[in-house]
């Protein structure tokens, strides 16, 4: 991790914080989705508590993926991506740093908002803690998987939806182990650690595969 990497990280964070609070829009979308679901499902508190962890995870999944479309697109549109490619810096590291900064600016706020939204869904304190913990571990994986989609769709203007469509199938394992470890924490009989450790492993795997695949896709994207 040398000077340029730090400098890139700082740039990404200040861009995310300054450009109209992209972090805030992500959290708001999360809030909106979680609020909309009871309007569909009905105000039955027991039902809501039962599907609560799933609702939070699906909300976080959508908010993360849909917020990722500009991850590389902004750089491509203003020509910065060309300069990244010919700078001679490691593209894999660059992707990892960008993902890290993006997660800090938009994923972490989601994790922080999750306990509040959990109250609306009538979750128990234990459930709240469990969901938040799994989100903390799992959302980086979503960002890293999403980055692959973001670099595949970098040259397309209508990236948002397409990215989600490409990436949702890949993100399903993360979702499954996230929700099931949260559920395991709520219903005692099932051990919590098994799915949780798998979730951690998934995050670590994506931290390797994500940047590799993403960098390769970016290299091909430049005409």
């Amino acid at each position: 991790m040398t000077g340029w990497a730090l400098s890139l990280f700082r740039r990404e964070i200040s861009l995310a914080v300054r450009v109209g609070g992209s972090a805030m829009v992500g959290v708001l979308f999360f809030l909106a989705v979680v609020t909309v679901i009871p309007f569909g499902v009905g105000p039955d508190l027991n039902l809501l508590a039962r599907i609560g962890p799933a609702v939070l995870w699906i909300g976080a999944l959508l908010a993360t993926l849909l917020g990722l479309d500009r991850l590389f697109q902004a750089d491509r549109e203003d020509g910065a991506l060309d300069l990244f490619l010919m700078s001679g810096r490691s593209l894999e590291l660059l992707v990892l740093i960008k993902c890290l900064a993006h997660w800090m600016a938009t994923g972490l706020p989601l994790v922080i908002a999750a306990p509040v939204l959990a109250i609306f869904l009538n979750l128990e304190p234990v459930a709240i803690g469990a969901v938040t913990l799994t989100l903390l571990v799992g959302t980086p994986a979503l960002t890293l998987i999403g980055a692959v989609g973001a670099s595949l769709t970098v040259s397309l203007r209508r990236g948002g939806l397409l990215l989600a469509v490409l990436v949702i199938p890949l993100a399903i394992p993360v979702l499954i182990f996230g929700v099931s470890s949260a559920d395991a924490a709520i219903h005692d009989p099932v051990p919590f650690m098994t799915p949780f450790l798998i979730l951690c492993a998934l995050t670590l795997i994506t931290a390797v595969i994500g940047p590799l695949a993403s960098a390769a896709a970016l290299r091909f994207s430049s005409d």
Partner: protein, 186 residues
Amino acid sequence: MTGANGVGKSSLLRTLAGLVPLKEGGISLEGGEDDRTAFEHSHYFGHQDAVKPALTVLENLTFWQAFTAPISADVFPTEIHKPADALEFLGIGHTARLPAAYLSAGQKRRLSLARLLVSSRPIWLMDEPTSALDRHSEAQLLGLMNAHLDRGGMIVTATHTDLPLNSIRTLHLEAPQDVRIVGELA
């Protein structure tokens, strides 16, 4: 490098910059650093400015300085300007602390040009560098380009107008009578 619209000037420049993969053959540079590819010796100055409106002018430039490794060549000594000096020199020093969003198109272009000064690389690949510049800025740009040539640098530029540079060799691209589309399974 001159030629009619659509003949392939920009494409050639992007190929030299390593942004378009080669179908066959290779690009090599004599007298550069050995462990670097040819395009790592080059600055690419295209139609896009790579300027982030949300960052200040100085932040933009400082980032590119930290990010772009300076590279020297046998006949080309490394020489690096401080970001603030480069801005001052290009006449936008007074905007250093302002968000780049406040710049006009011409000012943005100058900021992008300052990038070439804060990190020294022997080759400049420039695509229609004078487009959208007024006469004063154009003259200034030509001065910079001449200075770069005088220091032993090299410039490859696509243009539609005559550029009064110190040592010029013109490559005129002509569309072949029979256009062949390569790589299209044709």
